[in-house]
């Protein structure tokens, strides 16, 4: 049996909000009996986009993480409703039956991802339904994928074994696998949101003129262990990514065959730019 999944590439999301708006367009003031009651005009974010900034001026990056109901295979919301008010369809989609779930505010709290919303006016718990009502009419993909300008969101209707294979070969991740809910929403390049970087710039002074130093070796070590090595680019920049937040002390060693070497100690909390590291010049400058 083929089942629906989403694959979201964090590195491709430009925060245009087409997906967010498409979900609102689809559900605000529209009633789809059996699928979803109308969404309130404001307040609900069945599809949400979270923002993460890393670093500081001038080395900074920003990533966006679209989140929504994960359509978990081990969904806590389903387990909490013994009467079938929340159920999983054979195609993998989780539906909160708007009639049967009426008044059951407790469903909201069951979702560890915070993706279920309470509609006070309609007295019902609601969330993104993977556009099941449209797929049932023959649509080829949910609207959030259809409107995605960069191809960051794609939908896949495949056998579970096939999805497992894809996830493994493309290094896809799910949010909080430790929750054990088996989400059907997968992410690529999730490190842009969840991990940290250490970056810096290397410069040299020659004849009173400061220049960027290209081709210096930057080595990142944690204790005695070498974590990664890079060459500085033409702006003298290096950037070590995919580091764990709050992962403690690191040492950056900068070396260049013609211009000497220097080491900088860093304690990593959040992503950081260590500034300009000067090689060459006078000994005094090097010491500074």
């Amino acid at each position: 049996m083929k089942k629906w999944n989403l694959v979201i590439d964090v590195a491709k999301c430009n925060n245009c909000n087409n997906c967010f708006l498409a979900v609102k367009d689809e559900h605000v003031a529209n009633d789809f009996p059996g699928y979803a009651a109308p969404q309130p005009l404001h307040g609900h974010r069945w599809l949400d986009i979270q923002r993460r900034e890393r670093g500081c001026v001038p080395m900074v990056d920003v990533a966006y993480l679209p989140t929504m109901c994960n359509h978990c295979d081990e969904a806590p919301c389903i387990k909490s409703c013994k009467d079938g008010a929340v159920y999983k369809r054979p195609d993998g989609i989780v539906i909160i039956d708007p009639r049967q779930a009426s008044g059951k505010k407790e469903i909201v709290g069951t979702c560890p991802y915070g993706s279920v919303w309470w509609n006070t006016e309609k007295n019902v718990a609601q969330k993104w339904i993977f556009d099941a009502h449209l797929l049932d009419q023959g649509w080829k993909e949910p609207r959030c994928a259809q409107v995605c300008a960069t191809g960051a969101i794609t939908s896949l209707s495949v056998e579970d074994e096939e999805m497992e294979r894809i996830a493994e070969s493309e290094a896809l991740e799910v949010l909080h696998p430790e929750f054990g809910t088996k989400p059907r929403i997968y992410y690529r390049n999730l490190h842009r949101f969840t991990k940290c970087f250490i970056g810096g710039s290397v410069a040299i002074e020659r004849d009173g003129v400061v220049d960027c130093l290209e081709g210096a070796t930057a080595t990142l070590s944690k204790g005695a262990t070498e974590v990664a090595e890079q060459r500085t680019d033409n702006y003298g920049d290096f950037k070590f990514d995919r580091l764990e937040p709050d992962s403690g002390a690191y040492t950056i060693k900068i070396a260049h065959p013609d211009h000497g070497a220097k080491a900088v100690d860093v304690r990593l909390g959040e992503s950081q730019y260590v500034g300009v590291i000067h090689l060459g010049g006078t000994k005094q400058q090097r010491a500074a």
Binding site: K12, C13, N14, N15, C16, N17, N18, F20, L21, A22, K24, D25, E26, V28, A29, N30, L41, H42, G43, R45, I49, R51, E53, G55, C56, V57, P58, M59, V60, D61, V62, A63, Q137, G138, K140, R143, Q146, V147, A149, T150, G151, A203, V209, V210, D211, C212, E214, N234, Y235, G236, D237, V276
Partner: protein, 989 residues
């Protein structure tokens, strides 16, 4: 005698056709039932005629001449009558007959229009619109500023709007081969986010649903002009509203004379060739005679007033073309420098998100990216690459320093400079400091720009050794950004000089960011909006080029030769005089032609007809406009608006217009024609859409066209204005005037709703922009410009400049104003007068406010209105029940002021104060704050005193001063402010 006989048969036949149509089609029956009357059709000499009697939906006719018909159509002779009445409709013959008095109509306008529309409906009744969906919904189409949409309607209500996925019957897509890879665009029309907010805008609680009058406005007594923007409104009938408006129009002419009526509209509103401001509104203006509020090229300032003089291209207001650059960039370029360029936010103007996929291709190919911008923009965060956080308004210093490196290290294209440019030596001497003793080194620029000298040298060396595309503004070739700073003219000029030094037009060296230059078929004709639509205006639109020739319609002309530059409108009203410089795309010199208000002999403006969206959010120092509205000089202000927002609150009479979803129109995506010639090159597929009337107008609102019809009917101009046509009839005329009938039938087009123009053939794709120039060949790209007389060399040889080459020191500026202190022929770096070098002001207001084009609203069209856009986290922030506009501030600048994320803050200077939600971020250079322009809501806390706006109109803060004294270049991106936490309870009291 043959014609007489034919006429007789036609007259007889019309009756039967009407009866037949009425039996079959309810819409025709409805129209038929609206009037009971007697209409005569006859020859002028009374030798032949037929009398039609309409009574409760029944039609009877008999031969003869009626002594006193309610309306009459009178032909001079039978031959004209036959040509007029034969099918298919020959509009050219009809127009000819009307213009030359071969046919006349008598009777009330309203009745004549009804009768002519009835005849037109014989051909259109029963047409099928849209496509039936499985769930019983009807799927229509529309076109918006953000792209085309399917519109699903069920039970008379919009169910959803969605992106159009092309089907197998739509034309195939193009493929580009570059570096061994093949690239084909996705088979869909990728819209900008604001397009997807339309449903929520149509059903917004801010919709104007019936005509209103300001409570203390009495057209026959006290007008209380001082209370505009303060007093409330009371509902009135359409009849009362239209009587007041048409009465005031006549009173203005009688009491003050020609010129007393000014029409003032926003630049961008809704989409469509019929309902657009350059179409139906302009036709209306010409019909009544009006003082034009002349638009400055507000998104192109530096290009038009500056860059153009170095290389020409006045047709595009000084912006580069894009032909062939998509393939050239993908295949050849090694780097793209984004300079004040954020295409992921500005969507190339009308281009939706069509460029996003192509920039992903560039990333996949490993093309390097660099971003020079005071803030780390969404394009930078998506594409990555080195960020140069530059101090706003100092860009020219950085550009000159890059050129200094190129000159001193020999990194420029010496052969190109020697053979394709003039004046380099003079420029070089300035850069090297030969003349003034100041070499413009990277170190020289560092204190100005804040960009380290070492980074400038590294960039200059990389740029000087790699084939590089330069992306300027959102569109890649212009549009917004630094061209709107006080030094925008300098910046844009230097961008041209940079390209000249690198060999502009050679493989991989051009302007752009993959937003333009797609291989679509540009020769397929469909009129763009600047072609004037149905206006009939040939002098101030591009209508004469194609539209007026291809679509027969009545010529219209404005008898009032008086203009007010939009940016100076408050001074014109409050001081009674101002001067301006025109936006003129015909020549380099057109912009030098100063004009003055009032024009000799004309009346000053005493009535404003305001049309379209709010503009407090888009015009510099816009608090001036609030003061203007309260002046007694403006005896009458009418506002025709869809929503109750912005300036609608300053009107005496409000006329509720319906949205484009509630009326007929037709339009092509991103086809502006005119000054943005061939802008469809930014699309992956050219899409032309029928803009179906998806639902009935909400409340008592009416289409703009219908409102104009109703007013002109009261002035006896109704038939002249409408030519007896409905909006739907006009859509058919636009369709017939285009190349569409060669490819698709009207019937099929109405049903499906859109047409995809097949891509350009692989072997006939356009050559690369400026390649011909680089190779010193005759021009081979389809730019109908310069005008044949505008070449200094042989036709199609060389550029529009006097030398025909790129001029480092432009001759046009030397001829006009050689000693200009603010636009010298030699493009020196002159620090901004509202920036760090304006020292006294900077001490008081130490933050530089950058107001870029809004991302989630096309100018003010989508903002506020309680629409879905309000919920976008990066657009507005909900705090204590109010959706605040966002100001973005650097972490350190915020920390020093005790400002935290989503605090309400006061952004202020001597001009005004605006309350915003603070977004504290690392993506701002220190000392720079960012906010979008284009807020639609103007919401001052105290409507009368000094302005503290909580709507979010950042342009209340920006300077009204011009970049260049002898221009109309606005400088709103140079703005000094201070920010502090808003202590609501204390200060609101």
């Amino acid at each position: 005698m043959v014609n007489e006989l034919k006429f007789s048969v036609l007259l007889f036949g019309v009756t039967w056709v009407m009866r037949f149509t009425a039996r079959r089609h309810a819409s025709f029956r409805d129209h038929l039932q609206k009037k009971n009357c007697v209409v005569q059709i006859k020859l002028k000499n009374n030798s032949q005629g037929r009398i039609f009697e309409f009574n409760n939906g029944r039609v009877r006719s008999r031969r003869g001449i009626h002594p006193a018909p309610d309306a009459a159509v009178i032909f001079k002779e039978a031959a004209t009558a036959v040509r007029f009445m034969s099918l298919p409709v020959n509009h050219a013959a009809r127009i000819h007959a009307a213009k030359n008095f071969l046919v006349a109509v008598e009777g009330p306008d309203e009745l004549v229009s009804w009768f002519m529309q009835l005849l037109n409906m014989i051909l259109t009744a029963g047409t099928e619109f849209g496509t039936r969906m499985p769930d019983g919904a009807q799927r229509y189409t529309t076109m918006t500023t953000g792209g085309p949409l399917f519109v699903y309607v069920k039970d008379g209500k919009i169910l959803r709007t969605s992106v159009i996925d092309f089907d197998d019957t739509d034309a195939p897509s193009w493929t580009i081969e570059a570096r061994g890879s093949k690239f084909t665009p996705r088979r869909k029309a990728m819209v900008a986010p604001h397009a997807l907010a339309w449903k929520s805008m149509v059903y917004s609680n801010k919709r104007l649903l019936y005509p209103m009058k300001r409570v203390d406005f009495d057209p026959n007594g006290d007008r209380n002009c001082q209370n505009r923007g303060v007093s409330g409104y009371v509902r009135i009938s359409w009849d009362e509203a239209l009587d007041i408006v048409s009465g005031e129009i006549l009173r203005m002419k009688r009491q003050h004379g020609p010129g007393a009526i000014g029409i003032y509209h926003s630049s961008h509103h809704q989409w469509g060739n019929v309902g657009y401001y350059l179409s139906a509104l302009l036709r209306f203006g010409n019909a009544i005679g009006f003082t034009k509020v002349h638009l400055n090229p507000d998104s192109w300032e530096g290009w038009y007033w500056g860059a153009m003089h170095h290389f020409g291209n006045s047709m595009r207001l000084g912006r580069s073309g894009s032909y062939g650059t998509l393939r050239d960039c993908l295949h050849e370029a090694e780097m793209i420098v984004f300079w004040s360029s954020d295409p992921e936010s500005q969507f190339g103007g009308y281009g939706g998100q069509e460029g996003a996929q192509r920039r992903q291709w560039a990333k996949e190919l490993g093309i390097k990216m660099v971003h020079i911008n005071p803030y780390y923009c969404p394009t930078a965060s998506l594409l990555g690459g080195k960020w140069f956080p530059i101090r706003p308004g100092t860009d020219n210093a950085l550009a000159i320093a890059i050129m200094h490196v190129w000159i001193t290290e020999g990194l420029y294209d010496k052969e190109y400079v020697a053979t394709r440019t003039t004046g380099f030596e003079e420029w070089r001497d300035y850069v090297l400091g030969v003349a003034d003793g100041v070499p413009k080194t990277p170190e020289w620029q560092e204190p100005e720009t804040g960009v380290p000298a070492r980074d400038v040298r590294a960039l200059a060396r990389e740029w000087g050794s790699r084939k590089t595309y330069l992306s300027v503004g959102g569109g890649g070739t212009a549009h917004g950004g630094a061209c709107r700073t006080a030094t925008g003219v300098q910046w844009a000029r230097s961008m041209i000089l940079l390209m000249a030094m690198r060999g502009w037009g050679k493989p991989g060296i051009n302007f752009g960011n993959l937003q333009g230059g797609a291989p679509v078929d540009l020769s397929f004709y469909f009129p763009g909006y600047a072609e004037g639509g149905i206006s009939g205006e040939v002098s101030s639109t591009a209508s004469a080029v194609n539209n007026y020739v291809r679509m027969p319609h009545l010529l219209t002309m404005n008898p009032v030769q008086q203009m007010i530059p939009r940016q100076r409108l408050p001074e014109a009203i409050l001081n009674g005089q101002c001067e301006g410089y025109p936006t003129d795309s015909l020549s380099l010199e057109g912009q030098f032609r100063r004009f003055a208000y009032p024009a000799p002999g004309f009346s000053k403006v005493h009535m404003l007809y305001r049309y379209g969206g709010s503009s407090f959010g888009t015009l510099a120092d816009s608090g001036r406009f609030a003061r203007m509205y309260r002046s007694d000089e403006l005896e009458f202000v009418v506002n025709q608006s869809v929503w109750f927002e912005g300036e609608a609150k300053f009107a005496d009479i409000i006329l509720p217009a319906c949205s484009q979803f509630e009326r007929w129109d037709i339009g092509e995506w991103s086809n502006t024609a005119g000054y943005a010639h061939h802008q469809q090159g930014q699309l992956s597929h050219r899409v032309i859409a029928m803009q179906h009337k998806c639902i009935e107008p909400l409340g008592e609102s009416k289409s703009d066209y219908q409102i104009f019809c109703d007013i002109t009917a009261r002035l006896g101009l109704g038939t002249y204005y409408s030519e007896g046509m409905t909006e739907f009839d006009w859509c058919k005329r636009v369709f017939d005037a285009s190349d569409l009938p060669k490819r698709v039938s009207w019937k099929a087009f109405l049903k499906k709703g859109y047409y995809v123009v097949p891509a350009e053939g692989e072997k006939t794709r356009e050559p690369v922009n400026m390649r011909w120039f680089a190779e010193d060949r005759p021009k081979d790209v389809p730019e109908p410009h310069p005008l044949p007389g505008g070449y200094s060399g042989k036709f199609r040889t060389g550029l529009q400049t006097q030398s025909g080459k790129i001029e480092f020191v432009p001759q046009s500026l030397k001829r006009f104003d050689p000693d200009s202190p603010d636009r010298p022929p030699l493009n020196k770096y002159i620090p901004s007068w509202e920036g760090p070098r304006a020292e006294a002001l900077y001490r008081k207001y130490p933050l530089q406010l950058v107001t870029a084009h809004a991302r989630y609203s096309y100018h003010t069209i989508t903002d506020a209105k309680d629409s879905a856009i309000n919920d976008i986290k990066d657009h507005r922030v909900l705090i204590d029940g109010h959706y605040y506009w966002i100001v973005r501030i650097n972490v350190h600048d915020a920390g020093r002021r005790g400002i935290r994320m989503h605090d309400v803050v006061k952004v202020y200077n001597d001009r005004a104060a605006v309350l915003c939600a603070a977004v504290v971020t690392e993506t701002m250079a220190p000392g720079v704050v960012h906010s979008f322009q284009a807020c639609a809501s103007f919401d001052p806390l105290d409507a009368r005193g000094s302005i503290v706006d909580r709507g979010g109109c950042m342009n209340l803060l920006t300077p009204g001063r011009k970049q260049v004294e002898k221009s109309d270049a606005m400088a709103s991106m140079s703005c000094l402010v201070q920010i502090e936490k808003w202590k609501q309870t204390a200060e609101a009291a």
